[in-house]
Structure formats: C-alpha cells, structure tokens
C-alpha cells in the first residue's frame, strides 16, 4: 500500500525545533493537533456543565417561588465584581497570547501574572461569599439550616448554587495552576513566535471558564 | 404456526393481546427470515468463492448505487410499518375508556397494595371483573417498581411521587401472574402479585365479603386492619393520645358523655351506631367531623372493629 520514504522532518534533528515531538512532521501539525485537542476538551466541559444547567433549569421550572426567594440571599455586588474581574482576566489572557506570538517575553510574563491576579481576586471574593453563606446556614441539601424562610424548598437552589459555582471554582483553580506553569515556562524563555501552543490552548480553556461564569452570573444572581 | 406463538408467548387474556401478538410474530418471522437469508448468502459465498489459490484475482467492485438503495429503502419501509403497527397498539393501551373502573395500586418493598373504588384494600391479590375495563393508577412509596402482567401484555412503572396509568379488559376468568420488573432490591424477585379475574358473581362476593385473605382472618386482626387502612387511625389513637376523635384505649364498657349531655355506655351497639351514623352521639369536647361509614364497611369488618376495641385495655 505504500512506499516508505525517509521523511525530511523525520526526527527533528539539529535542534531547530526543540519542542517538536517525535511523532509530528512539523510544528504547524503539532500546533493544529493541540488546538483540536483543546477544542474537543472544551466540548466535553460544555457538556459537563450543560448537564447541571439542564438540571437547574428543570428544578427552577418546578419550584419557581423557592428559587426566586432563595436567590435574594446572594450578593449581587460581589457577583458583579467577580464578573468584571473575570472579563478583565480574559482580556489580559488575550494579550498574553499576543505577547507570546510576537516573542515579547517580559510582556508575556506581565500579562500572565495579571491574569493570575484576577483569578486570585475572583477566588478571594468567592471565599467571602461562601463563608457568608456557611454562616447563615444557606447550605446545600440536607445541611441547609437557614431560619425564618417563608418559602419552602430553598435548599434546592443552594444545592445547585454550590454544585455549579463549586465546579466552576475548581476549574478556576485548575486554570490558575496552568497559568502558573506558563509563567514558569515563559521565564525560562520557552515561548516565541515559533512555539506558543501551550499559551494559546490555555487561553482557550481560560475563555471557556470565563464564559461559563458569564452564564452562571445572571442564572443565579439575577433571577426575574 | 400457532404452536410457535404458544411456545414464545404466554396465553393471552386481555384485549391488548391481539395487537401485540400480531406484531410480535411478524418481527419474529422477519428475524428468522433474515437470519437464514444472510446466513444463506454467507454460506453460499463461502462455498462458491472459497480461496483455492493465492493468485486468485477478484473483480474490483467499489459500489453499486442501485443495489445499495434497494437494501436501504426496503428495510426503511419495513421498519416504518413496524413503527406504525407498534404505535397503534401503544395508543390503544394508553387511553383508558371513560367507564373504566379505577383501582389504585401502590408498590412498596416488596408488596403491591390495591385500593378499590369502595375503599376496600387488598395486599398482592387484585380482584377485577371479567370483560370490564379496569384502570390501574400506579404509584410507589419508596423506589421505582414496575407492574407487569405477561398474559395481558402490559407493563408500567410505579414511580414515587408520581401517578402512572395502565388499563386493561380481562377477557377470561382465572388467576394471572404479576411481576415487579423494575429492580428494587433484595425482595425484587419475590414481589409477585396475582390478578383474580372474577366472573360477575365471584366479583360480587368479593365486594360483599372481601377477598379470601380477609374472610379467613380472625375478627380481631381484621379490626386492626380496618383501623389501619380505612382512615380510623387518622383520628383515633390506640395509646390514649387525644386526636381529632377520642382515643380507643380502654373505652370498652366505659361511659361516654355526649355533647348533648347524655351518657352512653360503649358497647357493640354504641360502636356500630358511631360508625354508621356518627353525628347521633358526639363525645363532649370533640368536633362533629366524622364522616359516615355507611356502605363503606362490610358487616364482618364492623364486627372486627368491635372485637378490636374490646381488646384495647
């Protein structure tokens, strides 16, 4: 079925492409593969959250009063601050990719650190929100112990609130770990216009994490 | 080929049987036909074109659009026929006639409880009259169960927190087996019930005297069953606690003071009167809210209650 010909790029010898893995013929092929892989992974993420969104939608439709009453316990200001923080972080992430593409090492490190700072801010705000809820007994499922409710069934809302923001929070933490790893590699000078796939695909992931929050915020904080 | 159908399917005993059996046998023959058709083609090909030398050259046939259309469109037509046929039977089994008698069936680990329109309850034995449409309203108290009567070709899940329906008209008297077909734990395979398809006379007897289980039960036990199942327990405690109505503990032979001031000894006549015409005497301090049980309890059940109260010292 074939003739084996020695490939010009067979083993990437000579060190002109230090990050080319042995089984790829050229950098562009490796880059495309990485992007396809990340997009596919993002599809699985969307579906993972999709299951929760559908569950939330169905329970909301069945218990509209409970969800309405429960969402008043959320702090809209904190939610809005976090939304802005994440949007800014998406922007600095875009700038990071640009800096990597144009081989600006210092700017790359700066923008990655800014993104990391935004993510950290998000988690700190989240911490204050959570501790407030814990204090009030606004907990999921059978641990719900808030006093003085007039509408029953509010624990259902908090079940979803904690599951969805919790899962999202885990994704933010994972994203922070990935960005920290990028900072480390950027400091070592790995990235340049010839090789920036890790920055690009981490950026894709980070945008998805933001996007999910953009849907979570109105869904949870702004029920009308 | 009735023997083949009788081999594959249990005897049919409801009005849904004809529809389902016809389709079942149609697909069965289709399966048998295609198994032997494909098998025959493969067998023929292997015999006819078995490799005899390594140098054999085969024709290079990449595809044949007409042939492929044939073996796409013919199956499509056949499966659409099956779809319509199956849908027809399903719709028929879905919509119960308006005059169907309604019976509530509740599944719980691992028994079926039936409640008839007149309030009678039975456990695991369902009595229905022959040739009359019956609608079962199914629900569950714990996990999901499923109510399956092979001889009626019917099945429906009993789901906690929901009501599902199933209806049938039994076509011949006799006893039909019911299985639970949704896995529900340790006793799943023992969660068996029976449907007694009664002749009109048998059914009348059942309504008048209860099922065999009740008829054989000692009076005192029957009384307790009635207390549990007919709503007495909601208002009348057995331990002296005050409820909507007076507790039954130790009232036998005691004196009740009525709201009108009169005194009444608690004896068989007084209890019977309190059940059938509860407003005649209302015990002082209680609201006159008890409904009459006239026509809802059988004579033997009233006797059972009297025996039961007698023992509650």
């Amino acid at each position: 079925m074939s003739t084996a010909i020695p490939s010009a790029h067979a083993h990437a010898e000579g060190g002109h492409a230090p990050f080319l893995q042995h089984h790829f013929r050229e950098m562009s092929q490796q880059f495309d593969a990485a992007k396809i892989g990340m997009w596919l992974f993002l599809v699985t993420e969307v579906l993972l959250f999709g299951g929760l969104f559908v569950g939330y939608g169905i329970m909301h439709a069945r218990h509209p009063e409970a969800f309405m009453a429960a969402h008043h316990h959320l702090d809209k200001t904190m939610g809005a601050v976090n939304t802005v923080v994440l949007l800014v972080s998406s922007f600095t992430m875009v700038l990071s990719v640009w800096a990597a593409q144009t081989s600006r090492k210092k700017l790359l490190v700066l923008f990655l650190l800014l993104t990391l700072a935004c993510a950290g801010t998000f988690m700190v705000v989240k911490y204050f929100e959570y501790s407030h809820k814990f204090h009030e007994g606004l907990l999921p499922g059978k641990y719900y112990s808030h006093k003085g409710d007039t509408v029953p069934g509010q624990f259902l809302f908090f079940s979803f609130y904690f599951m969805m923001t919790g899962l999202h929070g885990i994704h933010v933490l994972l994203g922070m770990a990935a960005i920290a790893w990028l900072v480390w590699r950027a400091l070592k000078g790995h990235f340049s216009s010839a090789y920036y796939a890790p920055v690009e695909v981490t950026g894709l992931y980070w945008h998805l994490v933001d996007l999910i929050w953009i849907y979570l915020f109105p869904l949870m904080y702004l029920i009308s | 080929m009735n023997w083949f159908r009788d081999f594959l399917l249990p005897p049919g005993a409801s009005t849904h049987v004809g529809e389902m059996d016809g389709l079942f046998m149609f697909i069965t023959w289709l399966t048998v036909f295609f198994f032997f058709f494909n098998g025959g083609l493969i067998f023929y090909a292997v015999r006819r074109w078995r490799r005899r030398s390594a140098k054999e050259v085969t024709p290079h046939i990449t595809h044949d659009t007409r042939l492929e259309l044939v073996w796409s469109l013919i199956p499509l037509a056949v499966v659409m026929l099956i779809f319509l046929w199956g849908f027809k039977g399903y719709v028929k089994a879905w919509v119960a006639p308006n005059d169907a008698m309604e019976i509530l069936a509740t599944g719980k680990k691992w028994v079926w409880e039936f409640e008839y329109p007149d309030g009678t309850r039975t456990l695991n034995d369902l009595h229905v009259p022959v040739n009359r449409p019956v609608k079962l309203v199914l629900t569950s108290e714990d996990v999901i169960h499923s109510f399956f009567i092979p001889e009626f070709r019917l099945k429906r899940d009993a789901i906690p927190g929901r009501y599902t329906e199933l209806w049938f008209t039994a076509t011949e008297p006799g006893i039909k087996q019911v299985y639970c077909t949704e896995y529900c734990g340790k006793g799943h395979s023992d969660m068996l019930a029976r449907i007694f398809v009664d002749t009109p006379e048998q059914y009348e007897t059942f309504l008048r005297e209860g099922d065999e289980q009740v008829r054989k039960m000692p009076l005192k036990e029957l009384g307790r069953l009635v207390w549990e199942n007919k709503g007495c327990a909601t208002c009348h405690s057995l331990d002296g606690t005050r409820g909507q109505g007076p507790s039954w503990k130790g009232i036998w032979n005691q004196t009740h003071r009525g709201a009108d001031g009169g005194e009444h000894r608690v004896n068989a006549d007084y209890i019977r009167q309190s059940i059938l015409t509860p407003q005649a005497v209302v015990v002082q301090g209680f609201e006159p809210i008890m409904p009459t049980y006239q026509g809802l309890l059988r004579e033997r059940e009233i006797l059972g209650l009297i025996e039961f109260i007698k023992e509650l010292q």
Partner: protein, 550 residues
C-alpha cells in the same frame, strides 16, 4: 513462515529492535508513551477484567440453575449481577476495541508514528487502572446492589459502596474521553501524506465515530454520576421525590449517555469487521462511503433515541412516539453495513482463517442482535418485553456477542502484528465454532424466557421457567470452554519463535507494510500512500486519481 522470511528484508544495517524488546524492563513499560505498548497493556487489562466479569457471569448462571437459592443468597446475587454488569460495561466492552485494538492499530493504519497526544494516552491508561481499582474496592465496602444502571431513588437510598462505584465510573469516563480526544486529533492531523479522508481504512472511520460519542456523551454521564454522589452525600434533592426532585430525570440523564454508549460498543466492532472481511475476501470493500457515513450516522442518531429505554416509565405518549420513530432509523445504517459486508464477500477469494471465522460469527450474531432490537423499538411489543430476559438477551447479542466476538476477530487479526508470532490456527477455528455455539446456546433461550414473561434481575423465579434457564446455564459452560481454549492457544503462541511475516494475511492497509512486530516508531521513515486501502487489483490505481464507478 521461517525466520529467513522475517529477516530477509531487514538485512540493512541500523535496523531498530522491535517495540516489544527495546527498551526493556517493567519500568519502561509503565512509563512508555508508545501507542502499541499502551494498546497491549489496555488489552491485557481488559482481558483480565473480562475473566473477572466472566466468572461473575458463570456464577449468575449457576445460581439460576434452580428456581430458588442454588449457591448464594439474594443479596449476594444482586451484588454479583451488579458487578458483572459494571465490570463488563465500564472496564471491558467500552475500552475493549477502541482503547486496546484502536490504540495499537490506529496509528499504524494511518501511517503515523504515534497518536497525537502520547502522554495523554498513557494518562488514560492510568486513569483506567485507578477507576478499575476503585470499582474493585467497592467489594470491601460491602459491594454494590444497584445494578449497573444506578437507577434512583434506589441507588441514592441503598447502602454499600455505591458512592465509590459511581465515582469509579466517573473516573473511567475520563479515560474514555482522553482516548476519544486523542483519536480525533490523530485522525485529523496524522494521516500519512496522500491519505485523504476517503483513503482511510474503514477502521479509522469507526474509531472516529466512536470518539465522537465518547466526547459528546461521556461528560453528561460524568455529571449525572456526580449528581448521584451529591444526592447521597449532601441530599441535594434533584432525584429525590420527597425533596421535590424527580427520579425519572435521572433516567433521562443516564440514557442520554448510556444509549450512545451502546454505539461506543458496536461501532468499533463494525470497524474491525470492515477490515477483516476485505482482507480475507481479497476484494475491495463494497460501498466504502456507505459504510463510513453509516458509522457517523449511527453515532449522531444515537443521541436522539435515549428515551426508548423509558417507554413504560411514564413518558408522554408523544415522546414515546417520537423516540420510537427515531430509533427505527438506526436500523437502516446497520442494515446497510451488513449487506455491504456480504456483498464484499460476493465473488471474492474467501479464506477461512480464524479472524474471518470470527467475523462470520459476528455477521450472524449481529443479524439476530440487530433484528431483535426491532421488538424493543416498537412501542407495543416493548411494553411487553421491557425489563424481561428478552432485553437481557438482545443486549448480550449486541454488546457481548457482537462486540466481544469482533474483539476476538481483531485480536486474531493483529496478533501476528502485535507479537510477531502465529497461534495454532486449527485450534482457533475450533474455538470460534465453540464460542458461536456456546453463545447462542446461552442467549437464544433467554429470548424465549423473556417473551414468556421472565423479568430480569430475578433471584427466584417460577418453576415454569426452569427448563430454559438450565439450557442457558449449560450454554454458558460451552461458551466458557471456547473462551478458555482461545486463551490457551493464544498464550501458547508465546512459545513459538517470532516467525510471523510482515503481512501474514495479504492485507492492503499500511500496518502490513511494516515488520511484525514493528519498531518503536512503526515505520522506517514516513510511509506515503500509494493506493486506496482495499485495492486488490494487480496494478492498483494510485491515490488521487478519481475512478469512475463501474
């Protein structure tokens, strides 16, 4: 098949040692990123769990020999059938062909050196092992008695190791997703030069369709399983009717994954058969595009039919009609494939080697499995047959019969490529016959049991069903004998010298162009495609030249 043949073409200096030999040592295997080694480790893991799940199956059949208790009590029985189902589904059938054979063969068939993400590939294997260990560890927590479907509210209220088992399935889902991501990226980016989409061997199309399902369905199962964990741990209420939730919602979520998952099981089987039949008929595949597109069609249609598992679970009449209607459309691509395979054999030069015998078994068993699906897709017959042994038998014909027999066909087909050794072909022919007979003896009686009214997951049964249960149990022993025979001669082949030629079957796809077993990098240099995958003409048409339909 002498040693001379193997090394004759490899006389030139600098020939690398094959992938099995170099590098050496257990550690080199545990840290390998070579898709072939990962494939083999997957294969042996899957075969080990097939043995475990198979022993549970034999125990189930033995228990059912008599209507009452035979060898275990009801609670043990419930745990045994749950483990049988969970192990066979999550640890055997789903990874069997894609993760084991797919990992081994896909890059070879594409002319690639490896999959796109070799480290992710190794990760998926470790994730699989972790998930498997968690599943086995549930035994220490008193087992799981929910059935592999984890229906709520039973699964959220019963005791034992349900939480751990559900988490195991969740973890195993990641292994499946990683494999799917890898395969799609590999197929997109690592095809040999000259290999267009329609010059790919059909195995790759099958893997592509499978990977689509793995990516699109598995996350939904993941979140569903997490919701069960949350329900058990926190009492979140979504599936609990007493808390305002809905147990039937779980079934929707579950089958949204698990019905497509059925096609994770059958599409790879079809993919293997599409390779085996042309090779042993020495004739080009009939209707390449029809087979390729029908794989993708099955994958996509598979997402639209989940509620056909719920015709008696209180879904509306309208929903029932829609889901039944859509389900029937799956029948068409399946029928197309079967007829195309038979047409491929037609006027071929058929050689009945072991892989072909297994492929023919597959054709017959899949015909029964597919057609009995019509009973369950049709509404009125499904009402009678749902949750009876008819269903048990149907899905064993499709999942166990078709998938595992295709898995065996693939193992026999690529064994010489994997190990460079041949097995005893006479014993292989005999065992394929024993397996075919044993399988049908086990499961044909179950169709009749089911249509007569025997419900599934029953520990006790009424005496009227005993004759057929006995027949089925005896069949299970025949089936087991056939499988043990297969294991015996495959293991015995390791005592043979590495004498298998590069192309023992006369195949025309790229994996046969390299040595058996291949070197670590698969090919000496980059192979370039010269002709289509199943072109058996003496002078095949070069790729890129469009042929006229004959």
């Amino acid at each position: 098949m002498s040693e001379g043949v193997l090394y004759a073409g490899a006389g030139h200096a600098g020939r690398h040692a094959d992938y099995l030999e170099e590098p050496k040592g257990l550690w080199s295997w545990l840290t390998t990123v070579d898709h072939k080694r990962i494939g083999l480790m997957y294969m042996w893991s899957v075969l080990f769990f097939f043995l475990v799940g198979g022993i549970f199956a034999l125990l189930i059949r033995l228990e059912l020999l008599t209507p009452k208790q035979t060898i275990m009590d009801a609670e043990t029985y419930n745990r045994v059938f749950t483990l049988h189902g969970a192990i066979m589904t999550f640890l055997v059938i789903i990874p069997a062909i894609p993760a084991a054979l797919g990992n081994f063969a896909l890059p070879l068939l594409l002319g690639a050196k490896d999959v796109a993400f070799p480290r992710l590939n190794l990760t998926s294997l470790y994730v699989y092992w972790i998930g498997a260990a968690m599943a086995v560890a549930t035994l220490a927590l008193g087992g799981v008695d929910t059935g592999w479907t984890f229906y709520t509210p039973y699964s959220t209220t019963t005791g034992g190791g349900v939480t751990l088992m559900v988490l195991a399935a969740f973890v195993l889902g990641f292994s499946s997703i990683f494999t799917g991501v890898n395969f799609i990226a590999t197929i997109h980016k690592l095809r040999a030069p000259g290999m267009g989409w329609f010059e790919m061997p059909l195995f790759c199309w099958g893997m592509y369709a499978t990977a689509l399902i793995q990516i699109l369905a598995t996350p939904v199962l993941g979140i569903t399983l997490l919701l069960i964990v949350m329900e058990r741990v926190l009492g979140v209420g979504i599936f609990d009717p007493q808390l305002g939730g809905d147990p039937v919602l779980f079934q929707h979520f579950f089958w949204f994954y698990s019905h497509p998952a059925v096609y994770i099981m059958i599409l790879p089987a079809m993919a293997v058969i599409s390779e085996v039949i042309p090779t042993f008929s020495k004739k080009t595949i009939f209707g390449y595009k029809a087979i390729a597109f029908s794989s993708v069609a099955i994958a996509l249609l598979g997402f639209l039919v989940w509620a056909h598992h719920m015709f008696v679970a209180g879904i509306s009449l309208f929903a029932g009609a829609i889901f039944s209607f859509l389900t029937f459309f799956i029948a068409i691509p399946s029928a197309i494939k079967v007829f195309n395979w038979i047409a491929t054999m037609w006027r071929g030069s058929i050689s009945l080697e072991a892989p072909m015998l297994f492929a023919i078994s597959f054709l017959l068993i899949f015909t029964i499995g597919g057609l009995t699906g019509l009973f369950l897709a049709a509404l009125s017959t499904d009402v009678h047959l749902h949750d009876t042994y008819f269903v048990v038998s149907h899905f064993h014909y499709v999942m166990a019969g078709s998938n595992l027999i295709a898995f065996l066909a693939g193992i026999h087909y690529w064994w010489p490529k994997m190990y460079g050794r041949m097995y005893n072909t006479k014993l292989a022919a005999i065992s394929s016959a024993i397996i075919f007979i044993g399988f049908n003896m086990t499961f044909l009686p179950q169709f009749v049991l089911g249509s007569r009214g025997m419900p599934r997951r029953y520990f006790n049964y009424l005496p009227q069903f005993q004759d057929l249960h006995v027949a089925s149990t005896v069949g299970s022993w025949v089936l087991a004998a056939g499988l043990f025979l297969t294991a015996a001669y495959l293991l015995a082949s390791f005592r043979q010298p590495k004498g298998a030629p590069a192309n023992p079957w006369g195949g025309r796809t790229l994996e046969w162009e390299t040595a058996s077993p291949p070197t670590a990098h698969n090919f000496e240099g980059q192979p370039v495609l010269q002709h289509g995958p199943y072109d058996y003409r003496p002078e095949p048409a070069p790729v890129g030249v469009k042929e006229l339909a004959h």
